[in-house]
Amino acid sequence: MDGSGLTQQPKKPELNEELDVVDRNIKCLHNLPEEILRYILSLLPTKDAIRTSVLCKRWEYLWTSIPNLHFDGLELAKRKHFMNFVERVLLLRDSSDIKTFTLYCDVLHDASHASAWISAAVRRNVQQLDIRLCNFREPFSLPHSLFTCMTLTELELEMPCILKLPPTICFTNLKTLKFRYVTFSSEYLTQKLFSGLPVLEDLDLRDCNWVNIKVVSISAPKLLDISITEDTENQNDEKGCQVLISGVSLNVFYYYGEFYNEYRVYNSSSLVDASIFVAWSPHRQRQVAHRMYVLLTGFYSVKKLLLTDQALEVCFLLSL
């Protein structure tokens, strides 16, 4: 039992301040037009933008036009939630264009879902696509519409499985192409792929395999930069594949590997910067040396040549 007023605690000042702020904000919120709110949502990471749908009914579908979607679901533990989330978001997203679409996920038995999601992005005129898929438990194929996407400027594909190419391939606007762990299996279609890149400037082939392919010619007229990294574990047949690279506009060449395949660069008068990182393979000395020679013959105008010490050993061998 205490007296009123004599021993009372003073009112906490923060509470009043907070109410003040809230009052002002309510006033301000009505002043912010919807376009501003949508713009702010487009600046947020995907998770945060979509969480706003729970704020209140006005915000329920405000996020549906965000241009960049980033789905990173490579934690196996929360996979079910992740898959539900992506499905839900793509279902509700409106038909406005998507600028960048990132999808990292363990596919398992959901090959058709993953393919459908990529297809949804392509349908909305995506420009930059970054796909990392792994853990396939059934055969997987990318949607055919991807290979004729007119709006695509950047494609990054990491998929440790066979790349099933459709009969029609036309990347009219593709400037950057990166493949990782991909296996090329059809000589005819692979050749079609690497001949249909009219504006490609940057090509990165990392740890890719050429199975049952004897020769492939990469002839992208605007190609400036090519980078090839070979898998240290050879999955190819004995002789490997002969890769002919047209260097009409080529400026930079980078190679890392053990020459399981043969590479030859021709028409390379614009090539100025080349780096060769060769890993030593004692029982394939002759083959490595020969392939090194073949590669070096294309570098007649190179100004800067970087070789690893093992590559120099190979060169020494050649001179004998």
């Binding site: 301000c28 945060d48 704020l55 209140c56 989330f85």
Partner: protein, 258 residues
């Protein structure tokens, strides 16, 4: 910053414009900076057509939706931006200016109240100040990133009009997006728990002299229903007792209760 007089420095080459805010304060601003506010630019160009003589400092451009405090900040931000008509600097000067601007931006954001940020965005939108809008919108996005739904509601002054089961459904469907975001309520709960006290039983004390006296302000007297019963019926020592009740207001509706 409000200055109604003419530019005292005759050798200054840039023309000045006068802007009038909603609270009737006048601001003299260099043309280069004022032109970044596209609304002002538009107004100026319209005026120019109508009267060639009335140029620069003699025209007062009214901004009825912008408060002086907000305009001050927008103008000082505008000044720090690279001027479109400035002489091109060499690389070093550009880098120094960039660093200065970054430092200024960080300082500006550090002392900004959430309400002020919304005011700035609203004003920048009205003035069509593109760089300002971009910068302050980004600041707002950075501020609400990784924050819980409850926090963002409070920040924007949003009233939740979802039914509980509707909200629950959304939270379940988008469960992946909610992972790792600290619930604001948990924060509040933690604060509340810190305020609770525990009572330890000290035991019964005998032979205390003098005996405890009932406080002068405590009620005494006869019970109104039965005059054979004296008040108080039950008594315990102590003042400022922490007690709990279920309803939002106490039983008497007063700030304190006996």
């Amino acid at each position: 910053m409000s200055n109604t007089s003419e530019n005292p420095n005759p050798s200054s080459s840039s023309a000045k414009m006068t802007l009038k805010t909603s609270d009737n304060e006048l601001f003299e601003v260099e043309e280069a900076v004022a032109m970044k506010f596209c609304t002002v630019k538009q107004y100026f160009e319209d005026e120019k057509d109508s009267d060639v003589a009335a140029r620069g400092s003699t025209t007062v451009i009214p901004l009825p939706n912008v408060h002086s405090a907000v305009l001050t900040m927008l103008i000082s931000y505008g000044k720090k931006l690279p001027q479109s008509n400035a002489v091109a600097d060499n690389h070093e000067e550009e880098e120094t200016k960039k660093k200065e601007r970054k430092k200024y931006e960080q300082g500006l954001l550090k002392n900004l109240m959430p309400g002020e940020l919304l005011d700035l965005i609203s004003a920048a939108n009205y003035l069509d100040f593109k760089e300002g809008l971009e910068f302050f919108n980004q600041a707002l996005a950075d501020h609400i990133q990784n924050k819980s739904v409850e926090y963002v509601r409070k920040f924007f002054g949003i009233k939740n009009d979802y039914e509980p089961h509707e909200e629950e459904k959304y939270r379940e469907e988008y469960a992946w997006a909610f992972e790792g975001i600290e619930c604001w309520l948990i924060g509040e709960l933690k604060q509340f728990m810190a305020k609770t006290k525990t009572l330890d039983i000290a035991g019964t004390l005998l032979g205390i002299k003098p005996a405890l006296i009932v406080a002068s302000f405590s009620v005494r007297g006869l019970n109104s229903l039965d005059s054979n019963i004296l008040k108080p019926e039950m008594i315990a020592p102590g003042e400022n007792i922490l007690a709990a009740w279920i309803n939002a207001i106490g039983p008497t509706g007063l700030d304190s209760n006996t």
